[in-house]
Symmetry: C2
Subunit: 314 residues, 2 copies
Amino acid sequence: MIRIGIDVGGTGIQTGVVNEQGAILAEESIVTRIVLPFSEQIRLMTESVRHVIASAGFTEDQILSVGVGVPGIASKETGEIIKCPNMGWNHVPFREEWIRLLNKPLFIDNDANVAALAESVSGVSAGTSSSVFITIGTGIGSGIILNGKIWSGAHGIGAELGHTIMKLGGVPCTCGNHGCLERYCSATALIRMACEKAGSLSADSALLRAVNGDLSAMNARIVIDLARNGDPVASAVFNEWTDNVSQAIANVVNFLDPEVIVIGGGVSRAGAFLLDAINEKYPQYVVFRDQPIPEVRLAVLGPKAGIIGAAMLS
Amino acid sequence: MIRIGIDVGGTGIQTGVVNEQGAILAEESIVTRIVLPFSEQIRLMTESVRHVIASAGFTEDQILSVGVGVPGIASKETGEIIKCPNMGWNHVPFREEWIRLLNKPLFIDNDANVAALAESVSGVSAGTSSSVFITIGTGIGSGIILNGKIWSGAHGIGAELGHTIMKLGGVPCTCGNHGCLERYCSATALIRMACEKAGSLSADSALLRAVNGDLSAMNARIVIDLARNGDPVASAVFNEWTDNVSQAIANVVNFLDPEVIVIGGGVSRAGAFLLDAINEKYPQYVVFRDQPIPEVRLAVLGPKAGIIGAAMLS
Protein backbone atom coordinates (compact mmCIF):
# COMPACT_ATOMS: atom_id res chain seq x y z
CA MET A 1 0.00 0.00 0.00
CA ILE A 2 1.08 3.59 -0.61
CA ARG A 3 0.35 6.97 0.89
CA ILE A 4 0.09 10.20 -1.05
CA GLY A 5 1.73 13.33 0.35
CA ILE A 6 0.98 16.74 -1.15
CA ASP A 7 2.93 19.87 -0.28
CA VAL A 8 0.94 22.93 -1.30
CA GLY A 9 2.96 26.12 -1.72
CA GLY A 10 2.44 29.54 -3.23
CA THR A 11 4.60 28.75 -6.27
CA GLY A 12 4.28 24.99 -6.72
CA ILE A 13 2.38 21.93 -5.56
CA GLN A 14 4.53 18.81 -5.01
CA THR A 15 2.85 15.42 -5.02
CA GLY A 16 4.66 12.30 -3.86
CA VAL A 17 4.05 8.58 -3.54
CA VAL A 18 5.37 7.50 -0.15
CA ASN A 19 5.74 3.98 1.18
CA GLU A 20 4.87 2.94 4.70
CA GLN A 21 8.47 3.46 5.83
CA GLY A 22 8.32 7.12 4.82
CA ALA A 23 10.42 6.87 1.65
CA ILE A 24 9.38 8.81 -1.47
CA LEU A 25 8.93 6.39 -4.41
CA ALA A 26 7.89 8.95 -7.04
CA GLU A 27 7.02 12.62 -7.15
CA GLU A 28 5.92 15.36 -9.47
CA SER A 29 5.30 19.05 -9.32
CA ILE A 30 2.66 21.32 -10.79
CA VAL A 31 2.64 25.11 -10.85
CA THR A 32 0.34 26.84 -8.39
CA ARG A 33 -2.27 28.84 -10.27
CA ILE A 34 -3.95 31.03 -7.70
CA VAL A 35 -6.15 32.68 -10.36
CA LEU A 36 -8.05 29.44 -11.06
CA PRO A 37 -11.33 28.72 -9.29
CA PHE A 38 -10.88 26.55 -6.20
CA SER A 39 -12.67 23.56 -7.75
CA GLU A 40 -10.35 23.67 -10.75
CA GLN A 41 -7.29 23.78 -8.47
CA ILE A 42 -8.55 20.64 -6.72
CA ARG A 43 -9.16 18.94 -10.04
CA LEU A 44 -5.58 19.62 -11.18
CA MET A 45 -4.25 18.25 -7.89
CA THR A 46 -6.20 14.99 -8.14
CA GLU A 47 -5.03 14.66 -11.74
CA SER A 48 -1.45 15.06 -10.57
CA VAL A 49 -2.01 12.30 -8.00
CA ARG A 50 -3.37 9.96 -10.68
CA HIS A 51 -0.47 10.79 -12.96
CA VAL A 52 2.25 10.24 -10.39
CA ILE A 53 0.89 6.91 -9.11
CA ALA A 54 0.54 5.61 -12.67
CA SER A 55 4.10 6.68 -13.50
CA ALA A 56 5.31 4.74 -10.46
CA GLY A 57 3.33 1.64 -11.44
CA PHE A 58 0.63 1.82 -8.75
CA THR A 59 -3.15 1.90 -8.95
CA GLU A 60 -5.73 3.93 -7.05
CA ASP A 61 -6.75 0.82 -5.09
CA GLN A 62 -3.35 0.85 -3.43
CA ILE A 63 -3.77 4.33 -1.92
CA LEU A 64 -4.17 4.10 1.84
CA SER A 65 -4.57 7.83 2.45
CA VAL A 66 -3.92 11.26 1.04
CA GLY A 67 -2.34 13.99 3.19
CA VAL A 68 -2.09 17.65 2.30
CA GLY A 69 0.18 20.23 3.94
CA VAL A 70 -0.94 23.83 3.40
CA PRO A 71 0.53 27.21 4.33
CA GLY A 72 -2.49 28.04 6.46
CA ILE A 73 -4.93 26.51 8.92
CA ALA A 74 -7.50 23.78 8.40
CA SER A 75 -10.16 22.03 10.44
CA LYS A 76 -9.25 18.40 11.11
CA GLU A 77 -12.90 17.60 11.77
CA THR A 78 -14.60 19.09 8.72
CA GLY A 79 -11.68 19.11 6.29
CA GLU A 80 -12.36 22.76 5.60
CA ILE A 81 -9.35 24.98 4.89
CA ILE A 82 -10.06 27.96 7.08
CA LYS A 83 -7.40 30.29 5.83
CA CYS A 84 -4.62 29.95 3.30
CA PRO A 85 -3.71 33.39 1.98
CA ASN A 86 -1.02 32.24 -0.51
CA MET A 87 -3.61 30.12 -2.32
CA GLY A 88 -6.44 32.64 -2.04
CA TRP A 89 -8.41 30.11 0.01
CA ASN A 90 -10.72 31.36 2.72
CA HIS A 91 -13.15 28.87 4.27
CA VAL A 92 -13.06 26.43 1.35
CA PRO A 93 -14.61 22.91 1.71
CA PHE A 94 -11.42 21.12 0.67
CA ARG A 95 -12.21 17.57 1.74
CA GLU A 96 -15.77 17.69 0.46
CA GLU A 97 -14.60 18.81 -2.98
CA TRP A 98 -11.64 16.44 -3.03
CA ILE A 99 -13.44 13.19 -2.23
CA ARG A 100 -15.91 13.81 -5.03
CA LEU A 101 -12.96 13.40 -7.42
CA LEU A 102 -10.75 10.97 -5.48
CA ASN A 103 -12.48 9.14 -2.68
CA LYS A 104 -9.72 8.25 -0.20
CA PRO A 105 -9.20 9.16 3.48
CA LEU A 106 -7.99 12.78 3.28
CA PHE A 107 -6.03 14.62 5.98
CA ILE A 108 -5.03 18.28 5.95
CA ASP A 109 -2.64 20.16 8.22
CA ASN A 110 -0.40 23.20 8.34
CA ASP A 111 2.87 22.85 6.39
CA ALA A 112 5.14 23.51 9.38
CA ASN A 113 3.22 20.95 11.45
CA VAL A 114 3.61 18.47 8.61
CA ALA A 115 7.37 19.06 8.36
CA ALA A 116 7.65 18.66 12.15
CA LEU A 117 5.87 15.31 11.87
CA ALA A 118 8.11 14.14 9.02
CA GLU A 119 11.30 14.93 10.97
CA SER A 120 9.90 13.20 14.05
CA VAL A 121 8.97 10.02 12.17
CA SER A 122 11.78 9.57 9.66
CA GLY A 123 14.09 12.55 10.15
CA VAL A 124 16.41 14.00 12.73
CA SER A 125 13.97 13.76 15.64
CA ALA A 126 12.94 10.16 14.91
CA GLY A 127 12.64 8.17 18.12
CA THR A 128 11.64 11.16 20.26
CA SER A 129 8.12 11.59 21.55
CA SER A 130 8.18 15.40 21.77
CA SER A 131 9.86 17.98 19.57
CA VAL A 132 9.44 21.50 18.34
CA PHE A 133 10.37 22.18 14.74
CA ILE A 134 11.31 25.78 13.92
CA THR A 135 11.62 26.73 10.29
CA ILE A 136 13.68 29.85 9.71
CA GLY A 137 13.18 31.49 6.34
CA THR A 138 11.39 34.61 5.15
CA GLY A 139 9.28 34.21 8.28
CA ILE A 140 9.35 31.80 11.21
CA GLY A 141 7.11 28.74 11.14
CA SER A 142 6.84 26.11 13.82
CA GLY A 143 5.35 22.72 14.48
CA ILE A 144 4.84 21.00 17.82
CA ILE A 145 4.96 17.22 18.30
CA LEU A 146 3.73 15.94 21.67
CA ASN A 147 3.43 12.26 22.49
CA GLY A 148 4.28 11.53 18.87
CA LYS A 149 1.41 13.57 17.45
CA ILE A 150 1.01 17.03 15.95
CA TRP A 151 -0.27 19.51 18.54
CA SER A 152 -1.85 22.44 16.77
CA GLY A 153 -3.92 23.56 19.71
CA ALA A 154 -7.42 23.18 21.06
CA HIS A 155 -8.75 25.52 18.35
CA GLY A 156 -6.12 24.70 15.70
CA ILE A 157 -4.55 28.16 15.97
CA GLY A 158 -1.33 27.29 17.86
CA ALA A 159 2.28 26.65 16.82
CA GLU A 160 2.66 30.23 15.63
CA LEU A 161 5.95 30.81 17.42
CA GLY A 162 6.88 33.48 14.87
CA HIS A 163 4.09 35.70 16.14
CA THR A 164 4.75 35.44 19.85
CA ILE A 165 5.93 38.81 21.09
CA MET A 166 9.64 38.91 21.81
CA LYS A 167 10.12 42.64 22.06
CA LEU A 168 7.34 44.67 23.68
CA GLY A 169 6.79 47.76 21.58
CA GLY A 170 9.22 46.44 18.92
CA VAL A 171 9.19 46.76 15.15
CA PRO A 172 5.86 46.38 13.33
CA CYS A 173 4.98 42.94 11.94
CA THR A 174 2.91 41.96 8.90
CA CYS A 175 0.36 40.46 11.33
CA GLY A 176 -0.55 43.90 12.67
CA ASN A 177 1.29 43.61 15.98
CA HIS A 178 4.68 44.88 17.14
CA GLY A 179 7.79 43.02 18.23
CA CYS A 180 6.91 39.54 16.90
CA LEU A 181 9.65 36.94 17.20
CA GLU A 182 9.97 36.54 13.44
CA ARG A 183 10.93 40.21 13.11
CA TYR A 184 14.11 39.36 15.07
CA CYS A 185 14.91 35.76 14.17
CA SER A 186 13.97 35.17 10.51
CA ALA A 187 16.24 35.37 7.48
CA THR A 188 14.42 38.63 6.76
CA ALA A 189 15.57 39.92 10.15
CA LEU A 190 19.17 38.90 9.44
CA ILE A 191 19.02 40.77 6.12
CA ARG A 192 17.48 43.84 7.77
CA MET A 193 20.17 43.87 10.45
CA ALA A 194 22.90 43.54 7.81
CA CYS A 195 21.45 46.37 5.72
CA GLU A 196 21.19 48.61 8.79
CA LYS A 197 24.86 48.02 9.51
CA ALA A 198 25.86 48.31 5.84
CA GLY A 199 24.27 51.74 5.54
CA SER A 200 27.08 53.28 7.55
CA LEU A 201 29.94 51.36 5.91
CA SER A 202 32.41 52.58 3.31
CA ALA A 203 31.84 51.35 -0.26
CA ASP A 204 34.78 48.95 -0.15
CA SER A 205 33.45 47.02 2.87
CA ALA A 206 32.92 43.31 2.25
CA LEU A 207 29.16 43.46 2.86
CA LEU A 208 28.65 46.24 0.31
CA ARG A 209 31.02 44.72 -2.23
CA ALA A 210 29.16 41.42 -2.03
CA VAL A 211 25.99 43.12 -3.30
CA ASN A 212 27.77 45.60 -5.60
CA GLY A 213 26.52 48.43 -3.41
CA ASP A 214 22.90 47.42 -3.94
CA LEU A 215 21.38 46.63 -0.52
CA SER A 216 18.23 45.24 -2.14
CA ALA A 217 20.38 42.31 -3.30
CA MET A 218 21.37 41.38 0.27
CA ASN A 219 20.46 37.85 1.32
CA ALA A 220 21.03 35.57 4.31
CA ARG A 221 23.62 33.44 2.53
CA ILE A 222 25.84 36.47 1.80
CA VAL A 223 25.82 37.55 5.44
CA ILE A 224 26.41 34.04 6.78
CA ASP A 225 29.21 33.28 4.30
CA LEU A 226 30.99 36.55 5.12
CA ALA A 227 30.61 35.86 8.84
CA ARG A 228 32.00 32.36 8.34
CA ASN A 229 35.01 33.90 6.57
CA GLY A 230 35.60 36.22 9.49
CA ASP A 231 34.42 39.57 8.11
CA PRO A 232 34.01 41.63 11.31
CA VAL A 233 30.81 43.47 10.32
CA ALA A 234 29.02 40.35 9.07
CA SER A 235 30.26 38.50 12.17
CA ALA A 236 28.76 41.15 14.45
CA VAL A 237 25.42 40.94 12.62
CA PHE A 238 25.46 37.13 12.69
CA ASN A 239 26.37 37.20 16.37
CA GLU A 240 23.47 39.48 17.29
CA TRP A 241 21.03 37.51 15.15
CA THR A 242 22.05 34.09 16.54
CA ASP A 243 21.70 35.63 19.99
CA ASN A 244 18.07 36.44 19.11
CA VAL A 245 17.50 32.94 17.68
CA SER A 246 19.00 31.42 20.84
CA GLN A 247 16.61 33.40 23.02
CA ALA A 248 13.72 32.24 20.82
CA ILE A 249 14.80 28.62 21.29
CA ALA A 250 15.14 29.18 25.04
CA ASN A 251 11.59 30.58 25.10
CA VAL A 252 10.33 27.29 23.67
CA VAL A 253 12.43 25.32 26.16
CA ASN A 254 11.48 27.38 29.22
CA PHE A 255 7.81 27.05 28.34
CA LEU A 256 7.40 23.63 26.71
CA ASP A 257 10.69 21.76 27.20
CA PRO A 258 10.40 19.24 24.34
CA GLU A 259 12.87 16.40 23.98
CA VAL A 260 14.59 18.11 21.05
CA ILE A 261 14.42 21.32 19.02
CA VAL A 262 14.75 20.95 15.26
CA ILE A 263 15.88 23.90 13.11
CA GLY A 264 14.78 23.80 9.48
CA GLY A 265 14.13 26.23 6.64
CA GLY A 266 16.58 27.82 4.22
CA VAL A 267 18.80 29.19 6.96
CA SER A 268 19.49 25.68 8.32
CA ARG A 269 21.72 25.12 5.26
CA ALA A 270 24.32 27.18 7.16
CA GLY A 271 24.95 23.87 8.94
CA ALA A 272 27.43 23.46 11.77
CA PHE A 273 28.39 27.15 11.68
CA LEU A 274 24.83 28.05 12.74
CA LEU A 275 24.37 25.10 15.09
CA ASP A 276 27.64 25.78 16.93
CA ALA A 277 26.68 29.40 17.52
CA ILE A 278 23.27 28.37 18.88
CA ASN A 279 24.70 25.64 21.10
CA GLU A 280 27.17 28.12 22.55
CA LYS A 281 24.54 30.76 23.32
CA TYR A 282 21.21 29.08 23.95
CA PRO A 283 21.81 27.29 27.30
CA GLN A 284 22.49 30.58 29.14
CA TYR A 285 18.88 31.62 28.47
CA VAL A 286 17.37 28.46 29.98
CA VAL A 287 16.18 28.91 33.58
CA PHE A 288 17.26 25.46 34.73
CA ARG A 289 20.47 25.51 32.68
CA ASP A 290 22.26 23.28 35.19
CA GLN A 291 19.82 20.45 34.35
CA PRO A 292 19.68 18.31 31.19
CA ILE A 293 18.15 20.55 28.48
CA PRO A 294 16.78 19.83 24.99
CA GLU A 295 19.30 19.18 22.26
CA VAL A 296 19.13 21.41 19.17
CA ARG A 297 19.43 19.59 15.86
CA LEU A 298 19.29 20.63 12.20
CA ALA A 299 16.49 19.25 10.03
CA VAL A 300 17.64 16.60 7.57
CA LEU A 301 14.69 16.06 5.23
CA GLY A 302 14.83 19.50 3.62
CA PRO A 303 12.04 20.36 1.16
CA LYS A 304 11.03 16.67 1.06
CA ALA A 305 9.64 16.98 4.61
CA GLY A 306 6.49 18.52 3.14
CA ILE A 307 5.64 15.45 1.05
CA ILE A 308 6.77 12.88 3.63
CA GLY A 309 4.97 14.53 6.56
CA ALA A 310 1.75 15.04 4.60
CA ALA A 311 1.77 11.36 3.66
CA MET A 312 2.09 10.49 7.35
CA LEU A 313 -0.96 12.44 8.45
CA SER A 314 -3.67 10.30 9.99
CA MET B 1 -10.30 6.32 51.03
CA ILE B 2 -8.55 9.68 51.34
CA ARG B 3 -5.70 11.47 49.63
CA ILE B 4 -3.20 13.74 51.35
CA GLY B 5 -2.23 17.01 49.69
CA ILE B 6 0.72 19.02 50.95
CA ASP B 7 1.49 22.54 49.81
CA VAL B 8 5.09 23.41 50.67
CA GLY B 9 5.88 27.13 50.80
CA GLY B 10 8.68 29.31 52.06
CA THR B 11 6.67 30.47 55.09
CA GLY B 12 4.30 27.60 55.81
CA ILE B 13 3.48 24.00 54.92
CA GLN B 14 -0.25 23.25 54.55
CA THR B 15 -1.41 19.67 54.84
CA GLY B 16 -4.93 18.63 53.85
CA VAL B 17 -7.09 15.52 53.83
CA VAL B 18 -8.89 15.44 50.49
CA ASN B 19 -11.66 13.09 49.40
CA GLU B 20 -11.86 11.48 45.99
CA GLN B 21 -14.11 14.28 44.72
CA GLY B 22 -11.41 16.85 45.47
CA ALA B 23 -13.00 18.38 48.59
CA ILE B 24 -10.81 19.25 51.59
CA LEU B 25 -12.09 17.43 54.71
CA ALA B 26 -9.48 18.71 57.17
CA GLU B 27 -6.30 20.74 57.04
CA GLU B 28 -3.54 22.09 59.19
CA SER B 29 -0.52 24.26 58.80
CA ILE B 30 3.00 24.15 60.19
CA VAL B 31 5.66 26.83 59.97
CA THR B 32 8.46 26.29 57.47
CA ARG B 33 11.77 26.02 59.27
CA ILE B 34 14.41 26.23 56.61
CA VAL B 35 17.21 26.06 59.22
CA LEU B 36 16.34 22.49 60.19
CA PRO B 37 18.13 19.56 58.57
CA PHE B 38 16.19 18.11 55.65
CA SER B 39 15.45 14.82 57.45
CA GLU B 40 13.94 16.74 60.37
CA GLN B 41 11.75 18.80 58.00
CA ILE B 42 10.43 15.55 56.52
CA ARG B 43 9.77 14.15 59.98
CA LEU B 44 7.70 17.21 60.95
CA MET B 45 5.72 16.95 57.73
CA THR B 46 4.86 13.27 58.27
CA GLU B 47 3.88 14.12 61.84
CA SER B 48 1.56 16.81 60.52
CA VAL B 49 -0.04 14.26 58.19
CA ARG B 50 -0.63 11.83 61.08
CA HIS B 51 -2.06 14.63 63.18
CA VAL B 52 -4.48 15.95 60.58
CA ILE B 53 -5.86 12.52 59.59
CA ALA B 54 -6.41 11.61 63.23
CA SER B 55 -8.18 14.93 63.88
CA ALA B 56 -10.52 14.18 60.97
CA GLY B 57 -11.21 10.65 62.22
CA PHE B 58 -9.23 8.72 59.62
CA THR B 59 -6.47 6.14 59.90
CA GLU B 60 -3.26 5.64 57.94
CA ASP B 61 -4.75 2.59 56.23
CA GLN B 62 -7.21 4.86 54.49
CA ILE B 63 -4.52 6.93 52.74
CA LEU B 64 -4.51 6.20 49.01
CA SER B 65 -1.64 8.53 48.16
CA VAL B 66 0.34 11.54 49.31
CA GLY B 67 1.06 14.44 46.93
CA VAL B 68 3.46 17.29 47.55
CA GLY B 69 3.60 20.59 45.67
CA VAL B 70 6.92 22.42 45.96
CA PRO B 71 8.19 25.78 44.74
CA GLY B 72 10.89 24.12 42.67
CA ILE B 73 11.48 21.15 40.40
CA ALA B 74 11.43 17.45 41.18
CA SER B 75 12.06 14.20 39.35
CA LYS B 76 8.86 12.18 38.91
CA GLU B 77 10.88 9.02 38.43
CA THR B 78 13.23 9.12 41.41
CA GLY B 79 11.23 11.34 43.76
CA GLU B 80 14.28 13.52 44.20
CA ILE B 81 13.70 17.24 44.66
CA ILE B 82 16.24 18.71 42.27
CA LYS B 83 16.00 22.33 43.29
CA CYS B 84 13.82 24.21 45.75
CA PRO B 85 15.63 27.40 46.79
CA ASN B 86 12.96 28.63 49.27
CA MET B 87 13.39 25.45 51.32
CA GLY B 88 17.14 25.24 50.95
CA TRP B 89 16.74 21.91 49.12
CA ASN B 90 19.20 21.00 46.40
CA HIS B 91 19.13 17.43 45.12
CA VAL B 92 17.46 15.97 48.21
CA PRO B 93 16.10 12.36 48.13
CA PHE B 94 12.59 13.38 49.19
CA ARG B 95 10.66 10.21 48.39
CA GLU B 96 13.34 7.90 49.77
CA GLU B 97 13.37 9.77 53.09
CA TRP B 98 9.60 10.16 53.22
CA ILE B 99 8.58 6.53 52.70
CA ARG B 100 10.86 5.45 55.53
CA LEU B 101 8.53 7.37 57.84
CA LEU B 102 5.21 7.05 56.02
CA ASN B 103 5.09 4.34 53.41
CA LYS B 104 2.42 5.44 50.93
CA PRO B 105 2.59 6.19 47.19
CA LEU B 106 4.24 9.62 47.09
CA PHE B 107 4.06 12.12 44.21
CA ILE B 108 5.90 15.42 43.95
CA ASP B 109 5.45 18.27 41.47
CA ASN B 110 5.96 21.99 41.07
CA ASP B 111 3.42 24.17 42.91
CA ALA B 112 2.16 26.02 39.82
CA ASN B 113 1.68 22.69 38.00
CA VAL B 114 -0.24 21.41 41.00
CA ALA B 115 -2.51 24.47 41.09
CA ALA B 116 -3.10 24.10 37.34
CA LEU B 117 -4.16 20.50 37.90
CA ALA B 118 -6.49 21.44 40.77
CA GLU B 119 -8.29 24.07 38.69
CA SER B 120 -8.57 21.64 35.78
CA VAL B 121 -10.08 18.87 37.91
CA SER B 122 -12.32 20.68 40.36
CA GLY B 123 -11.92 24.38 39.60
CA VAL B 124 -12.64 26.86 36.84
CA SER B 125 -11.14 24.76 34.04
CA ALA B 126 -12.89 21.53 35.05
CA GLY B 127 -14.16 19.68 32.01
CA THR B 128 -11.43 20.93 29.69
CA SER B 129 -8.64 18.69 28.48
CA SER B 130 -6.04 21.44 27.98
CA SER B 131 -5.36 24.61 29.93
CA VAL B 132 -2.57 26.92 30.92
CA PHE B 133 -2.66 28.33 34.44
CA ILE B 134 -0.80 31.61 34.95
CA THR B 135 -0.26 32.77 38.51
CA ILE B 136 0.46 36.47 38.79
CA GLY B 137 2.08 37.52 42.05
CA THR B 138 5.56 38.59 43.07
CA GLY B 139 6.70 36.60 40.05
CA ILE B 140 4.87 34.72 37.29
CA GLY B 141 4.35 30.98 37.65
CA SER B 142 2.63 28.73 35.17
CA GLY B 143 1.31 25.21 34.79
CA ILE B 144 0.38 23.40 31.61
CA ILE B 145 -2.34 20.76 31.40
CA LEU B 146 -2.46 18.74 28.17
CA ASN B 147 -4.83 15.83 27.63
CA GLY B 148 -5.86 16.17 31.27
CA LYS B 149 -2.33 15.74 32.63
CA ILE B 150 0.41 18.03 33.88
CA TRP B 151 2.99 18.72 31.15
CA SER B 152 6.21 19.84 32.76
CA GLY B 153 8.39 18.97 29.80
CA ALA B 154 10.60 16.16 28.59
CA HIS B 155 13.26 17.10 31.17
CA GLY B 156 10.88 18.54 33.78
CA ILE B 157 12.17 22.09 33.22
CA GLY B 158 9.21 23.58 31.32
CA ALA B 159 6.18 25.71 32.27
CA GLU B 160 8.46 28.62 33.19
CA LEU B 161 6.45 31.20 31.26
CA GLY B 162 7.72 33.93 33.60
CA HIS B 163 11.23 33.48 32.25
CA THR B 164 10.47 33.47 28.55
CA ILE B 165 11.93 36.62 27.02
CA MET B 166 9.32 39.23 26.20
CA LYS B 167 11.58 42.20 25.66
CA LEU B 168 14.93 41.59 23.97
CA GLY B 169 17.54 43.57 25.88
CA GLY B 170 14.97 44.53 28.53
CA VAL B 171 15.33 45.00 32.28
CA PRO B 172 17.49 42.52 34.23
CA CYS B 173 15.76 39.57 35.89
CA THR B 174 16.65 37.64 39.05
CA CYS B 175 17.35 34.62 36.81
CA GLY B 176 20.36 36.32 35.27
CA ASN B 177 18.76 37.17 31.91
CA HIS B 178 17.18 40.35 30.56
CA GLY B 179 13.62 41.12 29.53
CA CYS B 180 11.88 38.13 31.14
CA LEU B 181 8.08 38.16 30.93
CA GLU B 182 7.68 38.37 34.71
CA ARG B 183 9.56 41.70 34.72
CA TYR B 184 6.63 43.17 32.72
CA CYS B 185 3.58 41.22 33.88
CA SER B 186 3.96 40.40 37.59
CA ALA B 187 2.56 42.35 40.54
CA THR B 188 6.16 43.46 41.07
CA ALA B 189 6.13 44.92 37.55
CA LEU B 190 2.86 46.76 38.24
CA ILE B 191 4.37 48.24 41.40
CA ARG B 192 7.57 49.22 39.58
CA MET B 193 5.57 50.93 36.83
CA ALA B 194 3.47 52.80 39.41
CA CYS B 195 6.55 53.96 41.31
CA GLU B 196 8.21 55.16 38.11
CA LYS B 197 5.13 57.26 37.32
CA ALA B 198 4.75 58.42 40.92
CA GLY B 199 8.29 59.77 41.00
CA SER B 200 7.28 62.68 38.80
CA LEU B 201 3.94 63.42 40.51
CA SER B 202 3.11 66.20 42.93
CA ALA B 203 2.78 65.18 46.58
CA ASP B 204 -1.01 65.51 46.59
CA SER B 205 -1.50 63.00 43.76
CA ALA B 206 -3.69 60.03 44.67
CA LEU B 207 -0.89 57.46 44.15
CA LEU B 208 1.48 59.27 46.51
CA ARG B 209 -1.20 60.04 49.08
CA ALA B 210 -2.16 56.36 49.17
CA VAL B 211 1.32 55.46 50.40
CA ASN B 212 1.86 58.63 52.48
CA GLY B 213 4.63 59.62 50.13
CA ASP B 214 6.57 56.41 50.82
CA LEU B 215 6.99 54.55 47.52
CA SER B 216 8.33 51.49 49.32
CA ALA B 217 4.79 50.98 50.64
CA MET B 218 3.31 50.72 47.13
CA ASN B 219 1.46 47.50 46.36
CA ALA B 220 -0.63 46.07 43.54
CA ARG B 221 -3.90 46.48 45.38
CA ILE B 222 -3.38 50.25 45.83
CA VAL B 223 -2.71 50.73 42.11
CA ILE B 224 -5.62 48.54 41.01
CA ASP B 225 -8.08 50.14 43.48
CA LEU B 226 -7.12 53.65 42.37
CA ALA B 227 -7.43 52.62 38.72
CA ARG B 228 -10.86 51.14 39.43
CA ASN B 229 -11.88 54.46 41.01
CA GLY B 230 -10.78 56.33 37.90
CA ASP B 231 -7.56 57.98 39.06
CA PRO B 232 -5.93 58.92 35.74
CA VAL B 233 -2.32 58.08 36.67
CA ALA B 234 -3.17 54.69 38.21
CA SER B 235 -5.44 54.02 35.22
CA ALA B 236 -2.60 54.70 32.79
CA VAL B 237 -0.29 52.35 34.72
CA PHE B 238 -2.99 49.66 34.93
CA ASN B 239 -3.70 50.07 31.24
CA GLU B 240 -0.06 49.62 30.25
CA TRP B 241 0.38 46.66 32.60
CA THR B 242 -2.78 44.84 31.42
CA ASP B 243 -1.55 45.44 27.88
CA ASN B 244 1.64 43.54 28.81
CA VAL B 245 -0.35 40.76 30.50
CA SER B 246 -2.58 40.49 27.43
CA GLN B 247 0.45 40.07 25.18
CA ALA B 248 1.78 37.38 27.54
CA ILE B 249 -1.53 35.52 27.30
CA ALA B 250 -1.49 35.89 23.51
CA ASN B 251 2.02 34.41 23.46
CA VAL B 252 0.66 31.29 25.15
CA VAL B 253 -2.28 31.18 22.76
CA ASN B 254 -0.25 31.75 19.58
CA PHE B 255 2.17 29.02 20.59
CA LEU B 256 0.14 26.41 22.48
CA ASP B 257 -3.55 27.33 22.02
CA PRO B 258 -5.00 25.54 25.07
CA GLU B 259 -8.76 25.27 25.56
CA VAL B 260 -8.70 27.91 28.32
CA ILE B 261 -6.28 30.22 30.09
CA VAL B 262 -6.67 30.47 33.88
CA ILE B 263 -5.35 33.50 35.77
CA GLY B 264 -4.52 32.94 39.44
CA GLY B 265 -2.29 34.41 42.11
CA GLY B 266 -2.85 37.43 44.33
CA VAL B 267 -3.58 39.76 41.43
CA SER B 268 -6.55 37.66 40.32
CA ARG B 269 -8.45 39.02 43.34
CA ALA B 270 -8.94 42.16 41.23
CA GLY B 271 -11.74 40.11 39.66
CA ALA B 272 -13.89 41.35 36.81
CA PHE B 273 -12.01 44.66 36.60
CA LEU B 274 -8.87 42.75 35.58
CA LEU B 275 -10.65 40.15 33.46
CA ASP B 276 -12.59 42.78 31.49
CA ALA B 277 -9.38 44.65 30.67
CA ILE B 278 -7.70 41.43 29.48
CA ASN B 279 -10.69 40.33 27.43
CA GLU B 280 -10.79 43.70 25.72
CA LYS B 281 -7.09 43.69 24.85
CA TYR B 282 -5.90 40.13 24.44
CA PRO B 283 -7.66 39.04 21.21
CA GLN B 284 -5.91 41.72 19.12
CA TYR B 285 -2.57 39.99 19.81
CA VAL B 286 -3.75 36.57 18.59
CA VAL B 287 -2.68 35.81 14.99
CA PHE B 288 -5.90 34.01 14.08
CA ARG B 289 -8.10 36.42 16.02
CA ASP B 290 -11.01 35.91 13.63
CA GLN B 291 -11.21 32.24 14.73
CA PRO B 292 -12.50 30.85 18.04
CA ILE B 293 -9.77 31.59 20.63
CA PRO B 294 -9.19 30.37 24.21
CA GLU B 295 -11.37 31.86 26.89
CA VAL B 296 -9.60 33.57 29.80
CA ARG B 297 -10.99 32.72 33.25
CA LEU B 298 -10.05 33.62 36.81
CA ALA B 299 -8.94 30.84 39.15
CA VAL B 300 -11.55 29.92 41.77
CA LEU B 301 -9.75 27.67 44.23
CA GLY B 302 -7.39 30.34 45.58
CA PRO B 303 -4.72 29.17 48.04
CA LYS B 304 -6.58 25.84 48.44
CA ALA B 305 -5.48 24.84 44.93
CA GLY B 306 -2.10 23.84 46.38
CA ILE B 307 -3.58 21.20 48.69
CA ILE B 308 -6.25 19.98 46.27
CA GLY B 309 -3.90 19.69 43.29
CA ALA B 310 -1.19 17.95 45.31
CA ALA B 311 -3.74 15.39 46.51
CA MET B 312 -4.68 14.73 42.88
CA LEU B 313 -1.16 13.93 41.74
CA SER B 314 -0.76 10.41 40.43
